[in-house]
C-alpha cells in the first residue's frame, strides 16, 4: 500500500519537475525570438482602433457627407434650370462624391452594416430598364430591395451620362419633371444613408468600436480585416474580373463596369485600392500615418518567405496600384481592346489578396468573423 502510494507520489513529482524544468529551459533560451522582451512593449490594439476611428473612418465619412451635400446643392440648381453648365457642375460633384464613397466602402461593419450601406449606394451594374419604369411611373419606393439596382451612384451615373447620348440630349431629358424628381430622390437617399452612418459613428459606435479590442468573433479587428478583404475581392471580381470576362469564359462584359456611363471605372477602382492601402497602413486621407496593421504585423514579427510579411504586402500594394493605373480609362473598351493589361492588374490584385486574406489573419491570431461557430 505505502509502496504504491510512494510510486504515484514520485510520478506526480516527476511530472511537476518536467513542467517546471521545461518552463525554465525555454525561458533561458529565447535568443532568436522576434517578440518583445519587455512586457510594457505590448501592442496596443485600442490605439490602433482609435486611430482607425478618428483618423480614417470618421473623417472619410465626413468627407463623403460634405461631397454628397455639394451634390445635393448642384442637383437642386440643375433641376431648377437644366443646362449644359449645370450638368457639368453636377457631374463633377457626382464624381467627387463617388470617389469619396470609395474611401468608405471598406467599412461595412457596425453602422454601415446596419444601413446595408454598400448595396444601397453602389449596386452595379444598374438596371436601366427599372430606372425608366420608375421615372415614367413617377411612383416608386427606393427602400425596396427590388429598387437596389435602380438607385445609388450607379443609377445617378446613368442619368447624368447615358450611353451614346450627347450632353445636350441629356439636358433635354431633364425637362421631364419625373426625371428631376427621380434624380433628387436618388441624391437624397445617398445623403440619408451617409448621414445615418456618420451620425451612428459619432454618437456612440466609435466607443463601441474601440472598446471591442479583443480577438474573438465579433471583435473590431476581426471586422476590419474581414471587410478589408471583402472590399479587395470586390475590386478583383466586380470591378475588374467580371468586366474582363473572368466569370464568363473570358467573354468580356464591358457593361458590368463600375462607373460605366461616366467612363471612370479604373479611376474609381484605384481610389478603392488607395483606401484599402491607407486603411492597412492606418493612414488618414491627408497622409498622416498612425498605427495600422503594418505596425501590428511588424510588432508580431510576421514573416513571409525570407523577409517580413509587412514589406511583402506593401510591395504587392505598390504592384497592384501600378498595374491598375496602367489601364487607361474607359475600362469598358480596354477589356476588349487591351485585355492583357487588364489581366495583369487582375493578377496583381489577386496576389495582394492572397497575403491579406491568408497570411495576415493567420499571423494576427484573430478570429475572422466568418461565421459564429465553435472551434476544436
Amino acid at each position: 500500500m505505502t509502496k504504491r502510494m510512494k510510486k504515484y507520489r514520485i510520478l506526480l513529482t516527476a511530472t511537476s519537475i518536467v513542467v517546471i524544468i521545461s518552463a525554465i529551459v525555454f525561458t533561458g533560451c529565447k535568443k532568436d525570438d522576434n517578440l518583445p522582451d519587455d512586457p510594457a512593449d505590448t501592442f496596443d490594439r485600442s490605439a490602433l482602433l482609435t486611430n482607425y476611428a478618428d483618423s480614417v473612418i470618421i473623417p472619410n465619412f465626413t468627407l463623403l457627407d460634405s461631397k454628397v451635400d455639394t451634390l445635393s446643392i448642384r442637383t437642386a440648381a440643375f433641376n431648377s434650370s437644366p443646362d449644359i453648365t449645370g450638368l457639368y457642375a453636377l457631374r463633377s460633384a457626382f464624381l467627387d462624391a463617388y470617389k469619396a464613397y470609395q474611401s468608405v466602402c471598406a467599412f461595412e461593419f457596425g453602422p454601415s452594416e446596419t444601413e446595408t450601406f454598400r448595396t444601397n449606394c453602389n449596386t452595379f451594374p444598374t438596371d436601366t430598364a427599372q430606372i425608366q419604369v420608375n421615372i415614367s411611373n413617377g411612383t416608386y419606393n427606393l427602400f425596396l430591395a427590388s429598387n437596389l439596382d435602380a438607385k445609388g451612384f450607379p443609377a445617378i451615373d446613368y442619368l447624368l451620362y447615358g450611353r451614346n447620348t450627347s450632353d445636350a440630349a441629356i439636358v433635354s431629358y431633364f425637362s421631364s419633371a419625373n426625371r428631376k424628381t427621380y434624380l433628387s430622390d436618388l441624391v437624397l437617399h445617398l445623403a440619408t444613408h451617409t448621414q445615418n452612418v456618420l451620425t451612428a459613428w459619432t454618437s456612440g459606435y466609435r466607443a463601441t468600436f474601440i472598446a471591442s479590442n479583443g480577438n474573438s468573433i465579433g471583435s473590431s479587428l476581426g471586422y476590419v480585416v474581414n471587410q478589408l478583404n471583402y472590399d479587395l475581392e470586390m475590386i478583383k471580381n466586380a470591378r475588374i474580373g467580371i468586366p474582363l470576362g473572368k466569370l464568363s469564359l473570358n467573354v468580356p462584359l464591358p457593361e458590368k463596369c463600375e462607373g460605366y456611363y461616366a467612363n471612370q471605372s479604373v479611376w474609381l477602382a484605384s481610389a478603392t485600392l488607395n483606401n484599402i492601402e491607407n486603411f492597412y497602413l492606418g493612414r488618414s486621407a491627408n497622409g498622416t500615418n498612425g498605427p495600422g496593421l503594418d505596425n501590428y504585423l511588424d510588432h508580431l514579427g510576421a514573416q513571409y518567405q525570407s523577409g517580413s510579411l509587412n514589406s511583402a504586402i506593401q510591395q504587392r500594394f505598390l504592384d497592384a496600384k501600378t498595374k491598375l493605373q496602367a489601364i487607361p480609362d474607359p475600362l469598358s473598351t480596354q477589356v476588349i481592346s487591351n485585355p492583357a493589361v487588364v489581366d495583369s492588374a487582375y493578377v496583381a490584385v489577386k496576389r495582394l489578396l492572397i497575403l491579406l486574406k491568408t497570411d495576415m489573419p493567420s499571423n494576427l491570431g484573430i478570429v475572422i468573423t466568418y461565421q459564429d461557430t465553435d472551434g476544436d
Partner: protein, 453 residues
C-alpha cells in the same frame, strides 16, 4: 496478478453509481449544448442554408433534410437528452440520440469537430451500458430493473474512452512544431494581450513554450493521475485548470465543460453515491430507495458479445490515430489521416482558394465565385483541406455540365499558410480535381510537398 487485474477491470462487480451520475451529466450537458446550438441559429446556418454539403467518403448517401426536418431532428435530440438524463425510456433515448447526432455530423465534414466525434462515440457506448438501472425514472417505474452493481468493465468502458482521448491528444502534441517552436500557440497567445494582468505576458515567447509543454505533459499523463485514488484530486484540479484555460483562450464552446463534468467518473464509488444522495434531497418524495445488493449479470453469450464489440471499438480507437503513417507527406499539410485522432488545437492553418472550371469545347476557363455556392465556413474549410477540394470539384463538374459545359474540368489555385509560414500553393494547380477521388486507400499525389522551413 493477471487474473486479479482482469477481474478488477472486467468481471468484478462495482457500484453502478458512477454510471448513473455519468448518464445524468452527459444528458444535461448535451441538453445545454443542443439547445445552445439551436438558439445560436446554427441549425439554419449549417444544415439549412448550405447549397452544397460535404459528406464523408462512403457516406455520400447522407443528406440534410428540409428546414422543418432538420429542426425536428434537433428537437427530438433535445428531448432525448432529457430522457437520457432522467433515465426514462433510456435505451430508446440513447439509441435515438446516437443515431440523430451521428446523422447530423455525417452531413457535412465542414462542421467536423473532435468534440462532436467524442459525443457520437460516448452516446454509442451508452447504448450498451445499463446506466438507467439506478436512480432513474425507469428504475422507479420498474423496480425489477434496479441494479446496484455492474461488472467493472462497464464503468471502465467510459473511463478508457476518456483516457484515450487525453492520451492521443498528448501523442499528437509530440512533434517539433509544437514542442520546439511552440506553434501554433506562439501565434495565438499574443492576440490575448488585452487580458487583465496576464495579458502582457502572453506576448512573451517563453509563455507560449510553457503552455505547449504543459499541454503536452498534461495530456500524456493526466490519465495516470485520474485512475489512481490517491492522485485523483490533484488530477481533477489539473483537469479544471487545463480546460478552464482552453475555455478562456479558444472558441470551443461547451467542450471544456463537458470534459470537466465527465471526468468526475474517475472519482470513487462512494463519492458518486454522495452525489446521488445529494441529488435525491432535491427530488420530491425523498424516500431513499432501499435495495439490497443487486448485481447486474448479463447472459454469458451476450456478455461475450458485448465485450467483443467493445474490444473491437477500442482496437479501432487505438489504430485510427496512427493511420496517417500509411500516407506519404506531412500530416498537417495533407490532412490525410488527420480526423478522428484527437488532434485538437494543433495547428494554425488558413488558405485562399481560387477555383476554375474549364470547358473542353472552347478550351476556355471561368473562375468560380465560391460565395455563390458555399457558406463562409465552407469556403474557409475547402481552402485548407484537400479532400474537400475534391468534393467541391465534383460538385462544380456536375453543376457546369448542367450549365452546358462540355466535359468540364476543375482546378484550383490555392495558397495555404501553416503555423505562420508564408503561404504557398498546396495542390498542383494543373490537376483536374474533378477527376480525383477521396478513396482513403489512394494517396493524393497531387498535393504539393510541404515546404519545410
Amino acid at each position: 496478478m493477471a487474473t486479479s487485474l482482469s477481474s478488477n477491470l472486467i468481471t468484478k462487480q462495482v457500484s453502478i453509481a458512477p454510471l448513473a451520475v455519468f448518464r445524468i451529466a452527459f444528458g444535461m450537458l448535451l441538453f445545454a449544448s443542443t439547445l445552445r446550438f439551436i438558439l445560436k441559429g446554427w441549425v439554419d446556418q449549417m444544415y439549412v442554408a448550405p447549397k452544397v454539403v460535404f459528406p464523408y467518403y462512403g457516406f455520400e448517401w447522407v443528406s440534410p433534410l428540409p428546414a422543418g426536418g432538420m429542426y425536428a431532428v434537433f428537437f427530438i435530440m433535445l428531448a432525448s437528452t432529457i430522457l437520457i438524463a432522467a433515465g426514462f425510456l433510456y435505451r430508446y433515448a440513447s439509441i435515438i440520440f446516437f443515431l440523430l447526432f451521428t446523422y447530423v455530423e455525417l452531413i457535412d465534414k465542414t462542421n467536423y469537430l473532435n468534440h462532436y466525434y467524442f459525443v457520437s462515440i460516448v452516446s454509442f457506448l451508452l447504448i450498451f451500458l445499463p446506466a438507467h438501472r439506478y436512480f432513474s425514472v425507469d428504475a422507479k417505474l420498474r423496480p425489477s430493473l434496479v441494479r446496484t452493481h455492474v461488472p467493472a468493465y462497464m464503468v471502465w468502458t467510459i473511463k478508457l474512452q476518456l483516457l484515450l482521448v487525453y492520451f492521443f491528444a498528448g501523442i499528437a502534441k509530440i512533434n517539433s512544431e509544437w514542442l520546439l517552436e511552440a506553434m501554433p500557440l506562439k501565434l495565438w497567445l499574443p492576440a490575448f494581450n488585452h487580458f487583465p494582468i496576464i495579458g502582457p505576458l502572453l506576448e512573451q515567447e517563453w509563455v507560449a513554450y510553457v503552455f505547449v509543454w504543459f499541454g503536452c505533459v498534461y495530456d500524456l499523463f493526466i490519465g495516470l493521475l485520474l485512475i489512481n485514488r490517491r492522485t485523483i484530486k490533484v488530477g481533477y484540479l489539473l483537469v479544471v485548470i487545463f480546460h478552464g484555460l482552453t475555455a478562456m483562450f479558444f472558441n470551443i464552446g461547451m467542450f471544456p465543460y463537458i470534459m470537466i463534468a465527465l471526468t468526475v467518473i474517475f472519482f470513487t464509488d462512494s463519492f458518486h453515491e454522495r452525489i446521488i444522495n445529494t441529488l435525491r434531497n432535491f427530488l420530491p418524495g425523498k424516500s431513499p430507495q432501499q435495495h439490497g445488493l443487486r448485481e447486474h449479470t448479463v447472459k454469458p453469450v451476450l456478455n461475450r458479445l458485448l465485450i467483443g464489440l467493445l474490444s473491437l471499438h477500442f482496437i479501432i480507437q487505438v489504430v485510427m490515430p496512427f493511420r496517417y503513417l500509411l500516407y506519404p507527406g506531412d500530416l498537417f499539410w495533407t490532412e490525410q489521416g488527420y480526423r478522428w485522432s484527437w488532434r485538437v488545437m494543433l495547428m494554425e492553418k488558413a488558405g485562399t482558394a481560387f477555383f476554375y472550371v474549364r470547358d473542353a469545347k472552347t478550351g476556355r476557363e471561368t473562375e468560380i465565385m465560391n460565395s455563390m455556392y458555399l457558406t463562409p465556413m465552407q469556403e474557409k474549410m475547402i481552402a485548407t483541406q484537400p479532400d474537400m477540394m475534391v468534393d467541391y470539384a465534383h460538385f462544380l463538374r456536375e453543376e457546369y455540365t448542367k450549365l452546358g459545359f462540355l466535359n468540364p474540368s476543375v482546378r484550383t489555385e490555392c495558397y495555404v499558410t501553416l503555423n505562420g509560414r508564408g503561404s504557398t500553393l498546396i495542390v498542383d494547380p494543373a490537376t483536374d480535381l474533378s477527376a480525383q477521388t477521396n478513396n482513403p486507400f489512394t494517396n493524393k499525389h497531387w498535393i504539393l510537398p510541404y515546404a519545410q522551413k
